[in-house]
Amino acid sequence: MSFFAFSDARLVMPDRRLFLGSAALLSGAAVALLAGRDALAAESRGATEANDTNILNTALGAEHEAVAAYQVAAESGLLEKPVLALATQFQGHHREHAELLAKTVAQLGGKPAAAKARYTFPTEKLKTQADVLRFAAQLEKGAVSAYLNAVPVFGSRDLAKAAASILGDEAMHWAVLRHAVGENPVPVAFVS
């Protein structure tokens, strides 16, 4: 599976899609194509893909950290069995996100960000299961905001759609974690 599997592989070239889709939304590359300035269009498209690669790699770095955070949680000895199963499931989701992001970065010709050899977490503040769950919820809430704000800056609408798919998953994690510590799982109608 690839990020691009969310839609037609032809749509890897987002600016051309914009060109074909709506004259009102012509990008710089599309304008250049329209004017027959292929070199400029290619340059613009390259810049767009480089930008998208940067966004994907930043997301990949955060996903690597999330995998590591859930590992710390799982090994903390603080989680009851059903909660441990949940944490392990969520960690698996983050691992899947990371794998997909890495694959897509490579498809775009970039070098996928590697996981760090070591992560530092505020483990001195994690004394109970509730502490661990609230810490995880904090990371998931941040991830929701990060993906939400990545969506509009992707040059590729397909990548934006895929990021929104991950956003939905992270929002579910956040809600479940809030519920697990007795908080309103969905406290607001909009996320930001």
């Binding site: 990371l139 990545a150 992707f154």
Partner: protein, 136 residues
């Protein structure tokens, strides 16, 4: 306080600790702004922390720092070359539209549209940076 959650409570506790330790943080509009900004800062939690580098650089010491200058963090070339020194005005501009202000930044984040939210977030960062409890 409606909507106050664990992290915001921790932030307020940190600010309260700063007050208790004799720091010049008394209840004032600025502290109220900072408290609201602390809740907004939760949006940054996927990548940033005050006191440690993560996917994004740490924010302790941010005000007055040249962008891209932490020696132990790998910035984008664009950020290193930006020439920005972080202040209230430069942060306000950057937070409104990071990728427009520094094209090529690794911070692929659309930005915070609401000027009041940016003001509160910057107030929080200022308060945190002047607090020995939050930024030892």
């Amino acid at each position: 306080m409606p909507g106050l959650n664990w992290l915001a409570a921790s932030i307020l506790a940190g600010l309260a600790a700063a007050v208790a330790s004799g720091e010049a943080l008394t209840r004032s509009p600025a502290v109220d702004d900072a408290a609201r900004g602390g809740e907004i800062y939760e949006r940054c939690a996927a990548c940033h922390s005050l006191d440690r580098n993560r996917t994004g650089p740490k924010h302790c010491g941010l005000l007055g720092r040249r962008a891209g200058s932490l020696p132990d963090f790998e910035y984008s070339p664009a950020m290193r070359a930006s020439g920005i020194v972080w202040s209230e005005p430069t942060l306000d501009r950057f937070l409104a539209a990071p990728t427009a202000v520094v094209p090529g930044t690794y911070m692929g984040y659309a930005g915070i549209d609401d000027a009041r939210e940016r003001t509160d977030l910057i107030a929080y960062l200022k308060a945190a940076n002047s607090s020995r409890a939050l930024c030892p």
